[in-house]
Amino acid sequence: MYKAIRSESFTAWAFMAPGLLFLAVFTFWPIIYGIPLSFTDYSVITETHYVGLDNFTRAFKDHNFLVSLWNSLVYVLIVPVIQLLSILMAILVNSRIPGVKMFRAAYYIPVVTSMVAVALIWSWLLGNNGVVNYLLLKAGVLSEQVSWLSTSSTALYVLMFITMWKGLGYYMMLYLAGLQGIPADLYEAARVDGAGPLRMIVHVTIPLLRPHILFCTLISVMGAIRVFDEVYILTKGGPGTSTLTSSVYIFQKGLEQFNFGYASALGLIVSVLVGALSVLVFRLNRKGGVNSY
């Protein structure tokens, strides 16, 4: 018995090895190496000195960094919205109406589209003379053109919308997989007890999707805090610091201004923040699923 388990685990490790090796070299090692770097003024091109906690004290006095942290936290607000919408979409595309496969595919297209392409398309749509302004002006919603990405009051929310638009299909697929794992007899029983569609969603679907909700919420929170592509392509953090998120600021400090030591320290702070939020998400989603854990 023990032998069997051992050989089984050996096989499992053997299959995982290539992927793990790749992760170890390109993900885990840089993360670990970032820790000592954050105590230095490493810049690749010049001599490196140990600076103790200077980078960390500087970070908490750095107005731009604090603003970027705040913006990243605001970005997390899309998590509940995106989860709720993707669950509803999953329920819709899980029904047996004709043509449902087309909808599934349509919702999934943004997920497989490159973020650069998505960002550029939205930048045209949202341009001063773009389709969005045109339609809203025609409909009388706006009285004058709005520079959606150049106005501080709208830029961050527009970016959040784009992130959400691109991510919906991905979470929808995950929830769809979860929905298809819910035993049909539970719905039968609920129906016999006189539950309508809404009650079935609230009392059967949502509780049994808990593990999926936990997983999706977790990666969605991490994704929201680490958001980079769409922000960097569309606004580079501007106007001013309106859309400056922590990843963009870390990128600018490290790869544009060559302050890798400082950027590593910022990265470490953000990692701790993501870790803390992940723990919080776990705490909020302890029970549920087909098998409670």
Binding site: I32, I45, E47, H63, S152
Partner: protein, 443 residues
């Protein structure tokens, strides 16, 4: 059991972290053999002496976005150099604008630094102030240094050290959509000479046609255009927080509110879109702008003329130069400097300007008829207009250390005021603090 396991894991992680921490503080693996930037004459010390005694040398030469368009020019030039320098082989590589700084970092980190690199002034100053580039003053003769336009050559001098050789450059000209200008009842034959006149023209165009005057990028050059220095004389503190700067920004804010200037921080690609789409009547930029308009809007191109750029209060025209630098970690610094000087000498700069429609940074080049005679085409007009102002040209980031950091701080500040409605004085104070911090940290 689990506690033990956990304890073991934590201990292991701690040990790994501490050992790496010590490694990072100890030997500077990445800087071995590099003289510190402060050591006097710390350049020739590590030179591979064999290189100067006729042993084969390979120089790695990097440019920005010049392949494949200029392959013939560079292949000929490199062949010419190699034939007159036996034993020297030049390997030419070309990278996109966005990629070159990161390529430089990664190659430096892996110990394979290139020898001659094409960088813009901002990056050259940024790397120079971090001690990553060779001080070329120690290699150039007086005559060589004086062969370049002073304002452009001085742009990368920090603490008396020249970190770059100026190469091709461009000064801005004013492009004008004559159709829109005439619709507004203005005469393109008598173009505006000063910024004030340009603003008046923009206002009239906006009133009569509904189109904005021009779009612009919110960058630090807005200060020197009006004679407001970015830093003090000895480059140790910010000097832009003045009543003049407040007035300049307040005027810009009013112009944006009026619609004379587009209320946007418009990157070059956006400016092309606006001019092509006839959403603005003017465009202030270098001659390369023509190539884009020609492709994106042939009809607009037909109606466009180029005239000398109206000057601001400082009465100067700013250049936007490309340079050649030699990284501190080049293994063949002497040959690298010699090759960079060859590429940027007047003869080769003249030849490059002719094929690339750029301006030279060497004084002797603009004596060539190519820069003084116009055949009436838009390209020729723009070229003559801009080349004749080269002697007055100066780069707006003259000798600014950590230029990229300071630029980004100023840009953010301008965006906060002009687009987010922040208070001018408060924001200038905050940006001044930020810039002073950058200067005191040297990063």
């Amino acid at each position: 059991m689990t506690t033990n396991k956990k304890g073991f894991t934590v201990s292991l992680l701690f040990v790994v972290m501490m050992s790496m921490l010590l490694a990072a503080c100890g030997g500077n693996g990445n800087t071995a053999g590099t003289p510190s930037p402060t050591s006097a004459g710390g350049t020739g010390t590590e030179v591979d002496k064999g290189a100067t005694t006729g042993e084969p040398v390979t120089l790695e030469f990097w440019t920005i976005a010049l392949q494949p368009t200029f392959n013939d020019y560079f292949n000929d030039l490199i062949a010419k150099y190699e034939s007159s320098h036996p034993g020297v082989t030049v390997e030419w590589k070309d990278y996109p604008y966005d990629a070159i700084s990161q390529r430089l970092l990664t190659s430096t980190a892996s110990g394979n630094s290139p020898d001659v690199v094409n960088l813009n002034t901002e990056f050259a100053s940024q790397l120079g102030s971090k001690g990553a580039l060779l001080n070329l003053s120690e290699y150039l003769t007086d005559e060589e240094a004086k062969s370049y336009f002073e304002g452009i050559y001085n742009s990368t001098i920090l603490n008396g050290k020249a970190y770059a050789l100026p190469w091709y450059t461009g000064t801005e000209v004013l492009f004008m959509n004559t159709k829109l200008v005439q619709q507004a009842g203005l005469d393109p034959a008598n173009p505006p000479q000063t910024r004030e006149e340009l603003v008046e023209w923009g206002r009239q165009v906006h009133e009569k046609t509904g189109v904005a005057g021009y779009a612009q990028q919110l960058v630090s050059k807005l200060f020197p255009i009006d004679g407001i220095p970015i830093l003090n004389e000895d480059k140790t503190a910010a000097a832009f927080n003045t009543p003049e700067a407040e007035a300049m920004i307040a005027q810009m804010r009013d112009l944006m509110a009026e619609g004379v200037v587009l209320k946007e921080d418009a990157e070059f690609s956006k400016q092309i879109q606006y001019f092509s789409g006839e959403q603005v009547a003017f465009q202030l930029s270098g001659p390369t702008f023509i190539n884009f308009i020609k492709k994106s809007a042939p009809d607009v191109y037909k109606n466009t003329i180029a005239v000398p750029l109206p000057t601001g209060k400082a009465n100067l025209r700013l250049s936007n130069s490309m340079n050649l630098v030699v990284p501190q970690k080049s293994k063949n610094p002497e040959q690298a400097v010699e090759f960079a000087a060859f590429i940027t000498n007047s003869e080769n700069q003249t030849a490059f300007s002719k094929v690339a429609n750029t301006l030279p940074s060497s004084k002797a080049s603009i004596q060539d008829p190519f820069f003084t005679e116009s055949n009436g085409s838009l390209e020729a007009e723009a070229k003559v207009a801009s080349s004749q102002s080269l002697d007055k040209a100066t780069d707006y980031m003259v000798g600014v250390p950590s230029a990229a950091d300071i630029n980004s701080a100023l840009t953010r500040g301008l965006q906060e005021i002009l687009m987010n409605g922040a208070d001018i004085k408060e924001t200038l104070n905050a940006v001044e603090n930020e810039v002073n911090n950058i200067l005191s940290q040297g990063s």
